[in-house]
């Protein structure tokens, strides 16, 4: 501690090390949070359902997505990324997951919402297996922290199905 430069160096390195520890503790404190999210998706309408020239089935649907994800937010949350995926089985693939819609929730106030929307991304199959297909809709979320570990989870909603014939 014999010179100005030496003391400044010690102070800065110690301060930054402590800052790293504080961020680690902040991330660990996220484990104390027990979230209780809820969500519901209704399919309002099948807009059209056709076989594309390449031979793949495609469907366009309108959904009403409502959710309460406020309990996911902590003091260390920057934003929550959510997306809705359709999951179903085909002879070729044991699991197909097609992302239909996503959004970024920047703050707790915006985490309780409903939205009436058509699918943001195309619902296309690898093949023509969708007629009369039963599928699940899952709402996934990624809680992105300000510092530290990201938590991800989902809610699976079952019981949806597509029409037997193209329209």
């Amino acid at each position: 501690m014999h010179s100005f430069g030496y003391r400044l160096n010690v102070l800065l390195t110690f301060a930054v090390t402590i800052l790293a520890l504080m961020c680690a503790m902040a991330s660990l404190s996220d484990n104390l949070n027990t979230p209780s999210p809820s969500a519901e998706i209704q399919i309002m309408n099948i807009n059209w359902f056709q076989k594309q020239p390449q031979g793949n089935d495609e469907v366009s649907l309108t959904m009403n997505i409502s959710a309460d994800l406020q309990s996911l937010f902590t003091w260390n949350t920057k934003q929550v990324f959510i997306f809705v995926a359709a999951e179903y089985e085909t002879p070729k693939n044991s699991l197909n997951q097609v992302s239909l819609w996503d959004a970024i929730i920047p703050a707790k106030e915006h985490a309780k919402f409903w939205i009436h929307t058509s699918n943001k991304y195309r619902f296309v199959d690898q093949g023509n297996n969708l007629r009369g297909k039963e599928f699940n809709l899952t709402l996934h979320w990624h809680v992105m922290p300000k510092t530290g570990k990201m938590f991800a989870n989902k809610i699976v909603m079952t019981g949806y199905s597509l029409p037997e014939e193209y329209r």
């Binding site: 014999h2 100005f4 400044l8 010690v10 402590i18 003091w75």
Partner: protein
């Protein structure tokens, strides 16, 4: 700074930084504001810098007694021994 001052500066620095870190973390957690934690800690680091880094007078209360230059002139400075080694190698 003198020796006592250096030790004091080090102690003050460590205690203040750790103290502000704990206060900032608790305040941020209780208020639910990450920003508050960072601001409080940054303020604490600045305050600690102002107190411990510059060479304040109170860090020099036990000054060292360096030898006066006029005293040092009176005694010859030690010479580096070179000539005897050269003769031994030549043979």
């Amino acid at each position: 700074m003198d020796w006592q001052g250096q030790k004091l500066a080090e102690q003050i620095m460590q205690i203040m930084l750790l103290g502000f870190a704990m206060i900032a973390f608790v305040a941020g957690y209780v208020l639910g504001s990450f920003q508050m934690m960072i601001l409080l800690y940054a303020g604490g680091v600045t305050l600690t810098t102002l107190i411990t880094v510059p060479n304040w007078r109170f860090f020099n209360r036990h000054p060292l007694n360096w030898l006066d230059p006029s005293e040092a002139e009176k005694y010859p400075k030690p010479q580096v021994a070179v000539s005897s080694k050269k003769k031994a190698i030549k043979k």
